[in-house]
Symmetry: C3
Subunit: 139 residues, 3 copies
């Protein structure tokens, strides 16, 4: 069994951003030399997500509206978590709605994707360096 582990770092300009990381993950899969296996991609911070959906700007805005509707950033007093001095209670909840991780099949040396699957990093409390883990195991 072979494996490769790498870490991507993101430092967004805005509190919330949605970044297509598919090409970066594909490069790590190619570097691994693994032909058949599984690829894990996960946020290492608990106020960010990794998810798979469309690279379409309208949809990304729809996701952001949806998440703000369910767990709005303001008022900070809405969240008990913010009594610790944080202001990111909403970001913890948004992260769990969108998920921490994806597991993708590696087949024939490539991400085994349907026609529109794209891997996104969803940042909900940015403006500081945060990491994403990519690990491939297989043969």
């Amino acid at each position: 069994m072979k494996s490769l582990t790498e870490y991507l770092t993101f430092n967004t300009q805005n509190r919330r951003e949605y970044i297509n990381i598919t090409a970066a993950v594909e490069r790590i899969v190619a570097k691994s030399g693994i032909h058949e296996g599984l690829c894990l991609v996960n946020a290492m911070h608990i106020t960010a997500s990794v998810y798979i959906n469309d690279a379409e700007s309208g949809l990304i805005a729809d996701f952001d509206d949806f998440l703000e509707g369910l767990a709005p950033h303001e008022p900070a007093s809405r969240y008990r978590h913010n009594r610790t001095g944080e202001d990111n209670g909403d970001a913890h909840i948004k992260r769990n709605i969108m998920g921490r991780e994806v597991v993708v099949a590696v087949t024939g040396g490539r991400l085994d994707f349907g026609p529109w699957e794209q891997i996104y990093y969803g940042e909900f409390d940015g403006r500081r360096p945060k990491r994403v883990l990519v690990k491939i195991i297989g043969e």
Copy 2:
């Protein structure tokens, strides 16, 4: 390490359907000959889900009500995504609420399940052929 990758295709009659795919996945696990490993099952389209829950018709109707409550199909103008000419903005969001994939342990050559776990394909924009990937790795 051994692996097996197969693809299931679904073409539902209704826009939204919930299909129990447990037996189909079990057949692929048996065919793989893998005794200890992991089984990934994921939707390859971004308007459909794979999830695990109960094979009970009332619960399935509850899930559908819940998803329509959070991300209703109508009016189409509710979603920026639909300005592209699509009418499936809701389906993209429903898919992320219910999740893209499940990873199931394979132990002693079988899906290592609790008493009520059943694997479902959740279709939110059907009436056309769409695929599910099943990949098992292990020994």
Copy 3:
């Protein structure tokens, strides 16, 4: 390829509880002797979740409020599922919002975690014995 599978059992005093199981999973990873691989942790019951987020009591209360807001326990008549004689329709839905499983990288013999990642068992219909599966594969 090596693998190890173990099962944890929880019997909570309350209907809903949130239990930090990180140390228990770490012990199983250490016992496995696996240095590079993947660790699957999943609820084996369909009214409970395994998720990763913060070990902070305010946040846990925020999650509970959020879930009760989306899928309240009362009135039981709200859920078609409860016509079967159950009263846990809400718990099935809460479980899918929070997720069934996490997949964690094992790197250098340890869970490869960011600074605040903690694994939680989320119980939504407790007061009876329920199991969590932990399986590590790798080398």
